[in-house]
Amino acid sequence: MDIRNVTKSVQINENKLFRLDFYALAVQLLEGRELVAAYIFDTRVPFGEDDRSKKFHDKLRYMGYRVVAREAYDPNREEQKEVDVAMACEMVVHALRDHYDVAIVVSGDRDFIPAIQQVQSAGKKVEVAAFANSVGSEMRKAGDNFHELEKMPLLSVFNPPEEVAADGSEEEGE
């Protein structure tokens, strides 16, 4: 999963009420199949600096993801470097080593098309999953199957926050 691509796409739909559930995302894409490994690719600030994404990465690791965070974020241009190539390499290498049967690419970035083609030529199936607002027709057609993420129940919903009365005490429920 190219996490920035996914979070950037879902931000348009997501508001403060709902939150993207990464665990549900992996489970629903699996559709009951056996999971070999779930990788998330992201960037982080160099060691020693205050890394705000560290807690987020730790949460993802707790869910069972393998987080690959490259030290290559360009704060001036607000873009990440090396991530797509790192992800493509991982995908191709594991395909050539026969570590999996199906790869699911969670990104709408068409830079992955050559890697997808290489994996397919190694005899593996590739599925693409992305939000409609971040994927072009080439990327939709590149995989053997396309998952439309906006149609999957992936945003967590919660109870309304408890109302607090003017005097600061919690109101009694009816």
Partner: protein
């Protein structure tokens, strides 16, 4: 060892003749400064003023230290620069040479260097201690913030659990007050466990009700196109269910409320929960 002693040692070591000794004797280390009165650059050696040799006026500058060759003319020495002693020169020295120099400087000027170093050490120590303290305080603050968040979450869960317990106790009291009928209360055909269609009613802007909501906690997910809602029972679920009712924050934003309605719902074995079609 001072510089003159070193020169004498070298004379003996290399067995120098008088001419060579004169030349070596006149090779000295000088630091040049500017005379505020005449604006000349000069140094002092053996009680005499040392001026820059005419061939070296462009090379030797104020504040620089040089190994120079001196020639005496009248009452003045004139210096030809042989090697400027600066940072790069020091760095090019071998480690042993650097250690020898440092050793000589330390032996000759220990009393002057010690207070300087002490001051420097104090500054460094103060800075290091300050940084470490700030770092430790920062870490503790971060831990306290995390603990506060955890406490908040636990208090929220505690409050939810109290609501669930209160509703269950109410149900128990109601059941105890009823007389036991001869027939079963729920026929098998009306069992909420049957697979297929499930009756879910929207009873308020953010409220859903169903007989199938018979557990206390659920995970609820909505699709980002707001077309489907998945309600899955789980002991660690974020959403609590009281009296077969579930309150969902933001449901009214996803789907406008225009009065109580039945929603098209089904049990989905694929998702392991109740799937509600909102549109």
């Amino acid at each position: 060892m001072d510089f003159y002693s070193l020169q004498k040692e070298l004379k003996e070591k290399w067995d120098l003749g008088d001419d060579s000794w004169d030349e070596l004797k006149n090779t000295v280390i000088l630091t040049f400064e500017r005379d505020a009165k005449n604006n000349n650059i000069f140094s002092k050696y053996g009680g005499r003023i040392v001026f820059r040799h005419t061939n070296h006026e462009d090379r030797i500058f104020e504040g620089e230290t040089w190994i120079c060759s001196l020639s005496l003319k009248g009452n003045y020495y004139f210096a030809k620069g042989l090697q400027r002693l600066d940072g790069s020169f020091m760095l090019e020295l071998k480690r042993e040479q650097m250690e020898d120099i440092a050793d000589a400087v330390w032996k000759g000027h220990k009393d002057k260097i010690e207070p300087i170093l002490e001051e420097k050490y104090k500054e460094v120590m103060k800075k290091t201690v300050g940084e470490k303290v700030a770092e430790a305080v920062g870490e503790k603050d971060s831990e306290i913030r995390d603990l506060c968040i955890q406490i908040e979450e636990l208090e929220q869960r505690d409050s939810e659990n109290r609501q669930i317990i209160a509703s269950l106790e109410e149900k128990v009291r109601a059941a105890e007050s009823r007389e036991c009928p001869d027939e079963p209360a729920v026929s098998m055909s009306a069992s909420p466990f049957r697979i297929g269609r499930v009756s879910v009613e929207r009873t308020g802007p953010d409220e859903l009700r169903s007989e199938a909501f018979n557990r206390t906690r659920y995970f609820v997910h909505i699709s980002s196109d707001y077309r489907i809602l998945l309600i899955r029972p789980h002991d660690s679920g974020d959403v609590i269910c009281i009296d077969n009712k579930i309150m969902l924050n933001g449901l009214s934003m996803a789907l406008q409320f225009s009065g109580p309605t039945q929603l098209i719902s089904e049990y989905s074995p694929e998702y392991g929960g109740i799937l509600i079609h909102l549109r």
